[in-house]
Symmetry: C2
Subunit: 527 residues, 2 copies
Amino acid sequence: MYETDAGKRLQQLAGRPYDLTAPDALTAAGRLERYVCRAGSLRMLYSMQRITDEVLDALQDLADECRLVEQFKEMRRGAVINRIAGWPSENRQVLHTACRDIFCQNPAAPAATAQAKSELEKLKGFLDDVDSGGVCNADGKKFRTLIHVGIGGSDLGPRAVHEALQAFGRKDKDVHFISNVDPDDAAAVLEKTDLATSLVVIVSKSGTTMETRANEQLVCQALRRDGLEPRHHCIAVTGKGSPMDNPEQYLRAFYMYDYIGGRYSLTSMVGLVTLGFSLGYEKIVEFLHGAAEMDLVAEETDIRRNLPLLLAVLGIWNHNYLGYPTVAVLPYSQALHRFPAHLQQCDMESNGKSIDRNGRQLVGKSGPVLWGEPGTNGQHAFYQLLHQGTELVPVEFIGFLRSQRGEDLEVAGTSSQQKLIANLLAQSIALATGKEDENPNKYFPGNRPSILLIGNSLTPEVMGSLLALYEAKIVLQGFAWNINSFDQEGVQLGKALATRLLACMTGSESQPQGLESKLLKAACNTG
Amino acid sequence: MYETDAGKRLQQLAGRPYDLTAPDALTAAGRLERYVCRAGSLRMLYSMQRITDEVLDALQDLADECRLVEQFKEMRRGAVINRIAGWPSENRQVLHTACRDIFCQNPAAPAATAQAKSELEKLKGFLDDVDSGGVCNADGKKFRTLIHVGIGGSDLGPRAVHEALQAFGRKDKDVHFISNVDPDDAAAVLEKTDLATSLVVIVSKSGTTMETRANEQLVCQALRRDGLEPRHHCIAVTGKGSPMDNPEQYLRAFYMYDYIGGRYSLTSMVGLVTLGFSLGYEKIVEFLHGAAEMDLVAEETDIRRNLPLLLAVLGIWNHNYLGYPTVAVLPYSQALHRFPAHLQQCDMESNGKSIDRNGRQLVGKSGPVLWGEPGTNGQHAFYQLLHQGTELVPVEFIGFLRSQRGEDLEVAGTSSQQKLIANLLAQSIALATGKEDENPNKYFPGNRPSILLIGNSLTPEVMGSLLALYEAKIVLQGFAWNINSFDQEGVQLGKALATRLLACMTGSESQPQGLESKLLKAACNTG
């Protein structure tokens, strides 16, 4: 990326980035109106970035020289891109987009979309049976609660979107999540749940995820304690042929395929079984539709009209050229309170890499640290550092003009929703323009870039678009850095060492004087 | 800090930090056992830091030269340290420690502790009345739910500790939180709550917090809609003499004082009313006791025996000398899932500053970006970047040997709690030592520092200690950077701009062609 002509030009341009604190800097030359990118019902205002038309042109050239859109198209059409050339690797297609490519006659990856449609049909039938009582508990009672057991990609995404769309949830349905191997996580959920009328969805692609299988056993123990038969309550979401693909142990099995990575699996059965139970089948189709629309936008070559690509290259400008090590995603929507945690996973697990797709050490930086909490809450928490700290943090604000639930009240002349939007926009201005002041403690340096991502209302369809927007952004950035965004070798060493520590605990460790034993002793020495 | 002798020595030492990847690097010279610091029932293992005895000695000298412990002592005894010399400022004492200095005969700040004791007595009486039914609703029914309305310091801390100690919560009591001005936040809580048997605690020191007062009105509207009288349900936690200090509008008022900042207010009535309702009075006394004990530890001059100070100076070593811009706090305890969000606020709002206590621009960096999520969940999310990414992130791990609820099960020969601890320790080793591999994708560079903070079990007392540990760490780092950690001028500009945007929305803006109006139009243009 750095060696391309565009990359070199960007390096030069980064020496004197656009000054957002100059008079009329945000509005000069129709900038505010021109620097808007639309996709579906989302629009991104990016006047508050430290960019000029020249920078945008160079970013376009970078996108072209790195073939970002072409690579995205190849991915959608089934190219084997989950690999490191010359080394043993997963060697797989990357086809999460196929899960929602169900609305057109000629899907980009027909076989994968056919599999997705077949699972959707199964799900529709199952949800109908649950609603009608055709599938019910041993006493003939309808299931009204679902416990979702998974971790990482099988937890953060489903949880984030469940929270985001609770306003659309059916009143007679409850959903709980268990993820952590910490036994208190399962215990807290099981304590408050009526297991007799609960479905339990166990989600693990491999069928061997340590945390998930341990939590499954904790739930099964609780079911049996209540005189319930686990296989009448438990549903498997897993890879075909995995140890969990066993009709004798589960009421149903829904499949995910090896071309879908955990952190990209929200629009597969990993997310849809639970969301379908809570929202109903029609709403998950709307959710998929929003995602499918955004996937098409990501194939547009003009960065000014391709929202995911624009978000991706602006992120690269901030991270690789202006040198900011982190990025904050700050939704002005309480419903999105767990969306940053999902993005943190999807982004950092995909792009937290140090070698390129040929196994060579990267020259520059790959993915940043992504973090965030909802506004306005954050304004009363960490925004002090955003405005006046010594660490500079580019911000991606997300907000909606209308609330989901429509319950509001005018206080001091304005509604809460108006206050929310006013604060959202105000923060973007404040970070960009700063403020001079004689008192050094009231001085704001400004020139802290942000984007504003605005929608009309957070519906299931918009949630789908927002998800696909960020998934595509992450993938496109990975292409620019020339890394494999789809493996996660960095999690293996910890797993291997944990196994050795467990061996120390059970006394089966072969080297009782090793580092693991010593650390365990020091940690447990209650002295 | 940089100009001190110790500061200069540290700069030199940072050029060749200790190599954690060398053979036996963690265990050499009894390092693993020696690099342990204890306080109460917490112990910190810090062998996995890139330090030597020489670095520790220099950090001790830095602490001494900057008078860190003396300044902490002065704070606890009522020095006016919330100020910028030569400029208008809040000019206040900083006495959150006085709230828990209730266990000794001679408290460090007697007047403030007397006020804390008096509020505690009031609270005890009130909680007794609620339990006995002496305070009840209009129909004579007992209150069984509490809705806590606050934001920032009046929300994140109480929420984090409520979640952390839910295992100790009384079964007949429920607590909900409303914080965001997003009207969906209140609507979601109100929808699921029986208001007739609910107390509503409104928390705002100034009595004018925009979000909190708007949410109060939303709750009052809902109470009236249900035929309930707000003043029979609402409790004020506020500054004496604030607009909320009004017995005609509230069932009770509990006071916080101007010497307690919002983000340090957890052990004042801001946290204790809600925690007392949920846990009972005895448990909050245990919580205060844990905090009081840690405050005393922070007065020890030897960094090797002063846990908060050691945590503070190790953080400075990583941030200012080794140059890491962020720090991750990763609790291996699902109960602590919101503790990083509280610390993020407390740390970044305190130390996200750019001028020193004399109003001069800082030479080096002040506070880092603090972020985190619980393990093992994070292992399946962002740990890929921690192990193999191009951004280096020092980690503060927190874990406990025993679970809170005691519900566990052996799966594949070990309990979930054992798996949790094994993973915690394994991550610390993996980050430090790394791993050589011929395959570049399986290579782990190591030398990524962490500390392990271990307790026996997360009880109310340990939670108090953990809170006070981090509060003291933050304050001590602020002293080292010579900044005022107790004001938050950086939040003012956004507030002022939000007011102007609201004026644009209601048509009362005097400059309808200004930036605010234009941005509002661009954001709302649904095109």
